[in-house]
Symmetry: C2
Subunit: 200 residues, 2 copies
Amino acid sequence: MARKSGSHAQITGPKVLKAAERLFARHGFAAVTMRQIAAEVGVQAGALYLYTPDKQSLLADLMITHLRELLAALPPADPDPLAALEGFVRFHILHHLSRRDAVFVAYMELRSLSPGNFAAVEALRHAYEDHLEAILQRGMAAGVFRPRDSRLATLALIAMLTGVTTWYREGGRLLPEAVAEQYIALARDTLGALPDRGTS
Amino acid sequence: MARKSGSHAQITGPKVLKAAERLFARHGFAAVTMRQIAAEVGVQAGALYLYTPDKQSLLADLMITHLRELLAALPPADPDPLAALEGFVRFHILHHLSRRDAVFVAYMELRSLSPGNFAAVEALRHAYEDHLEAILQRGMAAGVFRPRDSRLATLALIAMLTGVTTWYREGGRLLPEAVAEQYIALARDTLGALPDRGTS
DNA sequence: GTCTATACCTAGATAGAC
DNA sequence: GTCTATCTAGGTATAGAC
């Protein structure tokens, strides 16, 4: 049989990435085959190689693109540490709930990256963590947050927030914005934020 | 050539599980081959099937055994909510630092489980979460912890604590017991624990 | 109890027709 | 740009010698 229809380069390329993201998130990079991705896109396996040199590049592209977008979408930190924390937490939660597949892949498939790609991804993750740590350090210096090991607190907070992806289900009892509010209250207390004791 | 030496069933069995745990933690279940496991143990691939019916059972055995041990080792909850929280956090951190490979596999390879094995593992994880949630609920009822959505707070805390596995390196600046103390302080504050404001 | 040998299958990736 | 067909490598799991 000839090809199903004409040329679709402009449309097929993004579809390949989307399909790979979905499948990698659900089954893991190593467990997904190029044929599965192709089936999801609606082409034959060989055709995928028009859009990626190999499977590894597909993964690296997904992760690096996602992390770049994450960094670019990060809201500028408010001068007020409490407001900055709130802005960061809301952003993190809403982003993680709206881009679940990409987030999941970015966290779970670090070990599937080649060394070179791993280094690139780690640098981007590091930049993201540094953004939050700077907020924490300013808050601690200002006496708004309880003095702490800022690195450990940063990593603890990010782990706490990212955990939302493991339990949140669409259509559950909480809307994303409500989830964000809950995590904002938790984060504020975790840092021992000073004003508003008991009102959050 | 004949076999290298005599019979080693008693020793080879555990070695297979240990090797699988190590390799699954480092590379992921799907990425690890039976030949790799066999090489790590020092036997040929075929010999593994004396100790496991298949690769999937190897994974399920590792996860279920680990989670059973985790539950069995859980310290009984102190009647005092703050002491109970402290005991839980210390236990969780020290356990997660001392059994890193098993913990990592248990968290990362849920999606590699067959449906039946997944259900068994989920039940065990659920029991563990329930243990912490009960502590939180008692503390909230007693007015020691700030009123919260106890389920969300439970999952947030566990995510925060479990995150230690992503950054802790042996030989780093903090000993495990010091890490546990830091997380105890964070957990106490996350729950808005009432006494001792400012002294932790 | 472990080995060697191998059956059988599916993987990633490429070549050439259309 | 996509297909079909195919190469080569390596996967899980089994059979039978020792």
